[in-house]
């Protein structure tokens, strides 16, 4: 933590970064996103296992971009998000700096290539803080539990989950991959997904969201943290991520090259349901 504060101070003092986006003490014992612009404020940075928000969400916001070059304190899932955003042409190489903390050391990753290298070599997936790869054990168990249910029960489970949705879009707002300035739910000629928080409206919203994130979700899990009514919607995208990894060998967020599983195909893709 001290190393991180020191690094942040140096970056700001040396004008290598205009803002350090990191975590600070929040309310209720939570950590929160902080935007450090003065070197003497760097001492308020923290980094521990309360720091769960995916800060990459701020990198694509115009208000944050207008502050100047940003250095972002990056958990492994944040690093992967940066690469995925890069692969989708949402970030410019060299304009974003990631501060990765590993074994008490702070690494300045100033290019996408450096992030790629770090993720693919320096981080042993099992030892990385936060979620590096795949589902957490808890989520995996939750997915397995749902899969073990009879179909009708699965349906009831999700209908019940979706019925709480008020369409506040906190899931969308908290997700760094939901960067579209005009979301599909805002396409209203015709109104493709119903805006109202009704049964079908909610079902369609969560399904379309899951599909749009399939193969792009980085498993940071912040959508479910953000949801004020605790809908387990991360399970949808994470299950798909697992599935896509298994079926097509594609895993999001390990390269800045464009490799989106659902915009590619192989003639030998396997399925067992088309007659």
């Amino acid at each position: 933590m001290e190393a991180l504060r020191k690094k942040a101070r140096e970056l700001l003092e040396g004008k290598a970064a205009a803002v350090v986006i990191g975590y600070g003490e929040g309310s209720g014992g939570k950590a929160r996103a902080v935007f450090i612009r003065q070197p003497d404020k760097a001492a308020t940075l923290i980094l521990d296992d309360r720091c769960v928000q995916n800060l990459a969400v701020y990198l694509v916001k115009n208000e944050v971009k207008s502050l100047g070059k940003a250095a972002v304190v990056a958990q492994p899932s944040t690093l992967r998000t940066i690469l995925q955003l890069a692969s989708e042409n949402q970030l410019t190489d060299g304009l974003v700096m990631a501060l990765a903390v590993n074994n008490g050391q702070v690494l300045e990753l100033t290019s996408f290539h450096a992030i790629e290298e770090y993720l693919n070599t320096a981080v042993p997936p099992s030892e990385a803080p936060g979620k590096a790869r795949g589902l957490s054990a808890e989520d995996r168990a939750a997915v397995a539990k749902i899969e073990a249910m009879p179909r009708e029960q699965r349906w009831q489970f999700w209908v019940n989950e979706f019925s709480r949705c008020m369409k506040c879009y906190a899931c969308r707002a908290a997700c760094p991959m939901c960067y579209c300035t005009k979301c599909v739910i805002e396409s209203n000629q015709p109104q493709w997904i119903p805006v109202a928080p009704t049964g079908i409206g909610n079902l369609e919203w969560h399904i379309v969201r899951a599909m749009h994130l399939a193969g792009r979700c980085l498993n940071c899990g912040y959508c479910v943290e953000a949801c004020p009514v605790g809908i387990r919607l991360n399970l949808l995208t994470q299950m798909l991520t697992d599935e896509i990894g298994g079926d097509f060998g594609a895993e999001a967020g390990f390269t800045a090259k464009r490799e989106y599983a659902l915009s590619m195909f192989k003639p030998e893709d396997k399925e067992d349901f088309i007659r």
Binding site: V57, Y58, Y169, A196, G230
Partner: protein
Amino acid sequence: MEKKILKKQSLGALFDAIKAGGRRLLGPVEKDGRTTYEEVSSPAELAKDYIQTTTSAKSVVFPACEEIVRWQNEGHDVKVADLKPQTTPTVVFGVRPCDAASFAILDSVFSWDYNDEFFRRRLENTTIIGLACTKSDEYCFCTSVELNPGDTRGSDLLLTPIDGEQYLVEIVTDKGKKLVDAAAKLFTPAGNESKEKVLAKVPVKFDQKKLTAKLPALFPKENAWVDQSLACLGCGACAFVCPACVCFDIQDESGRNGGTRLRCWDSCGFSLFTLHTSGHNPRPVQSQRWRQRIMHKFSYFPERLSHLGCVGCGRCSRACPADMNLVEHLSALVEAADGQ
């Protein structure tokens, strides 16, 4: 105000009496770490230990989505139904005083010159049994917005658990009186029991009078608003859990033969809230939308409707995915005003 005593063990009998009248009874129920108002039939179902429900009681009178117009297509003609709000007489048990007070705020907007029948009928059909707070958390700030943990305003009956065995019942309105009369034998006259000693101690966190007075002068300080709202993600969580947020959207949904027009919750924090069809957006950036939220509740509301648009329940801060703490921001604004 007439006061009675109700034994905690009589609560079940009171619930029975309420439901016997054909009324729907809602109460706070805990499930998966959240507390929400659900239909209940016995006190055993109630959440034992809650400071605040996750979502407010607002939806009882102002549902997240309500049908306001319905029509049927008949060839080239359209038959528009005269839709009457369908409401079941409802009793909501365990409403915290802050939530109870929010109904007056909603009412002031929904009855402002034009009477919203949907809201009014629901409100008329709703009886609120308030439950005074004996505990609070760091997000609570009712005392900073002219309320208190034992406030009777907005409740029809206010219950205070004065000890482990009994509630002190304050009969606030005729509606409350009717409810007591329906189960008169459960209530005994109160002596000189006082609720003050059990009420939660909620410190005053900022000077609201000063805030309201200074906000117009703080409006043009763009940088201060940007600083406050950098972390804001622009979702509607704060507005949707807020018991006093009234803003709504009107949406049509139609099938082959007809359709409905729905009134759904909306939030001034969404970028689309003010977007014109032409593409012009009067509030194009998040800091302006954050400012609007604060100005509306703490400046415009008091000026136009003589009361605040906030009851200090603290839900917005609890729900915020970016931990935007309202009290913190309001205190900072008061401080900024001092610095002028």
